[in-house]
Symmetry: C2
């Protein structure tokens, strides 16, 4: 499975998925800079050095590009969660690993995450329904982990779990807004700060 | 000074500023739902029960509406900061009061804050320059408070101050994304959870 979640042996010509991935990253950059409505496939084509027909061939319309970006973010969040949960024995270790994987995903695909949260209203219906269902599962699973840590007193036990969960997710998500590649500390260091702040080091 | 920062005795007819404020709130709701590019002054007029010429009379064009929303958010953040700083004797009390005021501002003007962060790219140049300068001052001032609390060990002393600062701001800002008026706990309770999580109760 590639970074974009597509199976490798699906009969597509070599390089198809890499090209597709580059196009989605370029599209995310254009949509982030200009907004989804104002961004054009012409600008996206210029951004990635391809023709407009090539953009249509590899992904499709502007709406398809946004839908694919949203699905990509959704897969990234789910995979960060699964990798993190599998990486720890205790709830505390799992939590730390989830924060680390989630921060890394936001930083790695910063433009995609920014577009996802800014343009939720514009995501085509089918993709939106799918990603909102994924987001609910993600929230519930993080919420269970938070509840376990509240039970042991590692997180404040009296606070309402949904607010604690959203506060922690917000801390990580907001990274898309301020992170500057090359100038900010790397993803592991950022995740470490989050865990230090939550006294879960 | 009204909620929108305008002086009361400025020669405007009675009700002018209230009407203006209602229009900005309605505009923020439309822009949040549909995006700035797709939203129209016709929809905004329908949202607030006024004519399109009335919208132009009270505020101006769609760009003026977005610029005013941004200035409003910026004034709200600055005023939350100033009120919070004035409310405490120690750094810890000041910090808690700033979090409380800031969370209350985000929750009170949720649509305005959402539009501000989603549509930064579309904000007219003059307003954008002003709000970005305000945002830097806000960040610096919160950063100083964080540094003081790191100095006393009330916040983790080894962590880089800019990341700690953005993590805390992100926790509060993200409230615009998940808060549901009437269903979520009130602003004071939400701020209390943030302080509990940071062990600054």
């Amino acid at each position: 499975v590639t970074r974009y979640g597509a199976a490798v042996d699906d009969g597509r010509p070599p390089g198809f998925h890499e090209k597709r991935r580059d196009i989605l990253t370029g599209a995310a950059r254009v949509f982030e800079r200009r907004g989804f409505s104002a961004g054009t496939t012409k600008e996206i084509a210029a951004e990635v050095g391809l023709s407009q027909p090539a953009i249509y061939h590899y992904v499709g319309s502007k709406e398809d590009l946004l839908g694919e970006i949203a699905m990509q973010v959704s897969r990234d969040m789910t995979s960060a969660l699964e990798t993190g949960l599998a990486a720890g024995e205790t709830s505390r270790e799992q939590f730390r690993a989830v924060i680390r994987e989630f921060a890394a995903a936001v930083i790695r695909n910063q433009a995609e995450f920014a577009v996802f949260w800014k343009e939720l209203h514009a995501i085509p219906e089918a993709a939106r329904t799918a990603v909102l269902a994924d987001e609910r599962k993600f929230l519930n699973r993080i919420g269970s982990l938070v509840k376990e840590l509240q039970g042991t007193g590692e997180l404040p036990s009296d606070a309402p779990t949904p607010v604690v969960t959203e506060a922690i997710i917000g801390m990580v998500c907001w990274t898309y807004h301020w992170y500057r590649p090359g100038r900010s500390p790397d993803a592991d260091q950022v995740a470490q700060v989050f865990c230090d702040l939550l006294r879960l080091s």
